[in-house]
């Protein structure tokens, strides 16, 4: 279980004057949930993820992971980053995927077998010896996902992982992720600014207010079992509900912004 209790994050600038990125953020994510955090750009959703991952410390409130406060990054919380700069360019695809297992001291043969299974699972059969620079954006993102999943983290944090992909690849990656999540029983926090993606993937969709001082506006549980069908009338209702919530924020952001 993940608990955010009145969490705030303030950056102090060198020129004086503080910037409050996140303020009074309250959220509880139960084990096994697929939580999509949605919000206009600049609302602080990446900051929320970064704090949960342990990359940055909160400046107010408290974040509890399985009842304990977070101190630094840990392999309990796997991360899939937004871009591809987290991949190791000097390692092949399969070597990237087995990186975490190697760090954990798993014997070479065993970790290679496991890494190959994940490689196949994310649809990269036959690409194991390619280097990241030889692969397309979508393939690189799959390596990142496989690398995080191979380590079997309790929780998977994903920061707009499909942002850079074309619509076709994006759709198939979304289906893959749903399938893997259902099979692996992990908790997922998925950051996105795409309403459709949030409804298709999530068991819960959280909408944030516009930044600065971003906070959680509302949480919408998506009560559709199994695969989501965009022609399902419930999809339309959810879309309208979330869309109107986020439109207010986008309008507020554009008024206060420029």
């Amino acid at each position: 279980m993940i608990e955010f209790k009145n969490v705030g994050k303030t950056y102090s600038s060198k020129r004086g004057g503080d910037f409050v990125a996140v303020d009074n953020f309250d959220l509880t994510i139960q084990r096994g949930q697929f939580f999509c955090l949605l919000g206009p750009s600049g609302c602080g959703k990446s900051t929320v993820m970064s704090m949960l991952a342990g990359f940055e410390a909160e400046t107010a409130g408290q974040i509890l992971f399985a009842g304990r406060p977070i101190s630094g990054a840990s392999k309990e919380r796997g991360v899939v980053f937004q871009g591809d700069d987290s991949l190791y360019t000097w390692l092949s695809a399969v070597e990237n995927i087995e990186f975490g297992l190697k760090m954990g001291g798993m014997p070479a043969a065993e970790r290679r077998t496991r890494a190959m299974q994940w490689l196949h699972l994310v649809g990269l059969r036959g690409q194991q010896d390619k280097y990241p620079t030889e692969l397309s954006g979508g393939m690189k993102q799959r390596i990142q996902i496989a690398r995080a999943l191979a380590n079997e983290p309790q929780t998977l944090l994903m920061d707009e992982p499909f942002g850079a992909l074309d619509a076709q690849t994006r759709g198939s990656m979304q289906r893959e992720l749903r399938r893997i999540w259902a099979a692996a029983e992990t908790t997922v926090l998925f950051i996105t600014h795409d309403i459709d993606e949030a409804i298709v993937l999530g068991t819960h969709v959280g909408v944030m207010t516009a930044g600065p001082r971003g906070t959680l506006k509302t949480v919408v549980p998506i009560e559709i079992e199994g695969d989501r069908d965009r022609s399902d009338p419930r999809y339309g209702i959810y879309y309208e509900q979330i869309h109107s919530a986020i439109r207010e924020e986008v309008e507020r952001a554009s008024k206060s912004g420029v």
């Binding site: 991952a53 796997g78 991360v79 700069d85 987290s86 990186f99």
Partner: protein
Amino acid sequence: MSNKSATISGVARPGRKAPWWDSIVGGVPYLFGFLILFVLWHIAATYMMKSVLFPPPLSVLKAALQMIRDGSLLAAISASLVRIAIGFFCGVALGVPIGLAIGNFSLVRKLLEPWTEFFRFVPPTAMITVAVIWFGIGEGSKVFLIIYATIFIVILSTAAGVTSIAPNKVRAAQTLGASPRQIFVYVSLPATMPFILTGMRLAMANSFMTVVAAEMVAAQEGLGVMIWTGRLFMLVDQIFTALLALGLLGFAADRLFRYGIFKFAGQYEPVA
């Protein structure tokens, strides 16, 4: 024929699956380039600037063969190369850890930056006199100068390499359970490797420059000595032989480094 090989090497990627003869075929344009150099040299020396001061390649080659037979060329080359090897190795062995420390710890950077920024602008050739005064005219002074010529470039590029590692590479390793020591060995070091190699490559060129200058001032043997005594006794062929040897050795050393850089930089990522 050379035209055809050029096309082949242009299409084939210099990768793991390339057949063994690919690198040889890829080298053909290089040989061709060298050939042009010698032909132009020959034309210039025999037809345009007929002078004992500018010998054609064949007469230099003859002198070189003569010097290979009596062993003097090899003795000079090995004297210079041993100096470069020792000084270069020591310079890199000292420079890489210092560069890593500067790149990783801002306190070390602040402490050492005045040194690197100061000595970077004092060229090795300016230090020859000091080196001779301190270490005499033996091997010590030459090795010192080559360490000096090597170390600052290696420090700078290593430190630059460390600071250019994408933070997400380190963060990813943390979330995958790597310890700080593992992050250093498996992430920071390989990510910095292309920069270290680039620094070494530049430092190698500097070492060649420095060894010749140092040997001209104070040495019994070496390529610099060959050039200097050649001037004293008007042995122009001997001077050109030394120049030729320097060029070829430098070229070979540089190829070696480029190979290393490409091997470590992820197959096709251009680094240097």
